[in-house]
Subunit: 225 residues, 2 copies
DNA sequence: GGGAGGTTACTACACTGTCAGTAAGTGAAT
DNA sequence: ATTCACTTACTGACAGTGTAGTAACCTCCC
């Protein structure tokens, strides 16, 4: 936890190689998923053997964890000088990210595939994604609280749902976009949805569908339709 | 090849066994994903060997396709007497489904895992999910058009984005719910989001975030945050 | 010269798919 | 109603492949 600097001496060359491996692993896990992404394919991309990869990362599981951490690290570097925006800017930032993602197919796919795969039995990435979503939801709740405080209104109880929904819609749109890039506009659709969800949270309107006492006990059967 | 399977004679016993296999396969693929869901585990559940499974379905790929088709078949049976609702009821139906899904963990997980996995290279389920989402989006677009026609308004250009977003938010919430069932209320959050997206589509308001000419060309780097 | 960054060679599995064979039907014709 | 020709529903053994991990050895650089 504390000083996880497992490799004491980091020669610059070595560090570069490791980064190269992490990038290659992202590509392979993105293209084939973790379960079907062989170490040999990753090794080929960086011109070594699969045993060389294991020399650096110990195990495939560990490699996945490092890949995930690596992404977070570089993401933060992307806006190192400017702090993560807060208030409404936090949501604008999400929209910008969605547009930017349209030209980052590989990473989008890696995250989409790995996050869903992580819910399976004994998946090495599970803890990472649990933590990630928990943090992001908290993050967005905070942004909502900020905006409400600024406006002198009390944050509604729906901020929980809104925070989860915003992340959800971004993820879900990514999957649809990956399956049909001609039919789904990732950036535009995300912008629309985030706008709608933020508006509904900050300035609620009477329900269109009528929900309050809606009986959940329903003998209905359509998994995702 | 040579002695191909000519639509095997459907003895009632056999059909029952096949259904049993499909159910077991759903469980295994749900729990472990397709890539990591071995035929032997499915076979064990129904008391035969993995070769027996292959006798019925020819290949693992084919089994997956049948599993997916099977789900659709049973889903439709669930509301055979009453047609799929249209207009606003279509959206209410989605909300009810989301609540119902809270007690159908296994199927939800199977769909969440398999849909994301399907975007990977040469995945046997890809065509199915492409088709599924295309159909569902069209379905929701139609529902929007109906409501707009009823109200004598012209459907806005955002119906495309809204349709994709509604499906997206449902899927995305499922993943978060599977990762943290105590923190995410699948039904309630889906209800909130669908309500918000339908309202924003049918009765648009001025933007809170301000988007029109927002420059997409942004040197930003946060994959999913 | 000692350790970091590899390699080759190998072990040990975990799976999928094939194949030959068997037992239990099925459906005429006898 | 029994026999004969054939099919269905498997089993058990195994081939083949893909793959993670290990061990021993090489080979530079500091």
């Amino acid at each position: 936890m504390s000083t996880t600097r497992r490799t004491p001496r980091a020669r610059p060359e070595t560090l570069a190689k490791r980064t190269e491996i992490l990038r290659a692993a992202t590509a392979t896990f993105g293209a084939k998923g973790y379960a079907r992404g062989p170490l040999t394919e990753i090794a080929d991309q960086v011109g070594i053997t699969h045993a060389g990869i294991l020399h650096h990362f110990g195990s495939k599981d560990q490699l996945l964890v490092e890949v995930l951490k690596f992404r977070d690290r570089t993401d933060v570097e992307g806006l190192q000088d400017q702090r993560m925006p807060d208030g409404l800017d936090r949501f604008r930032h999400l929209v910008r990210t969605a547009f930017a993602n349209e030209s980052r197919h590989g990473i989008v796919q890696a995250y989409a595939v790995l996050s869903a795969e992580s819910v399976t039995e004994d998946h090495p990435g599970r803890a990472y994604f649990e933590e990630r979503y928990r943090t992001l939801r908290q993050d967005l709740r905070d942004a909502f609280e900020d905006v409400c405080a600024e406006r002198g209104i009390t944050a509604p109880a729906t901020v929980d749902r809104a925070a989860a929904s915003i992340l959800a819609v971004m993820d879900g749109l990514q999957v649809q976009w990956l399956l049909a890039r001609d039919d789904v506009e990732l950036g535009e659709a995300s912008a629309f949805a985030i706008e709608a969800l933020v508006a509904a949270t900050l300035d609620p309107r009477p329900p269109v569908l009528g929900e309050p006492g809606a009986a959940p006990g329903d003998h209905d059967a359509a998994a995702g339709s």
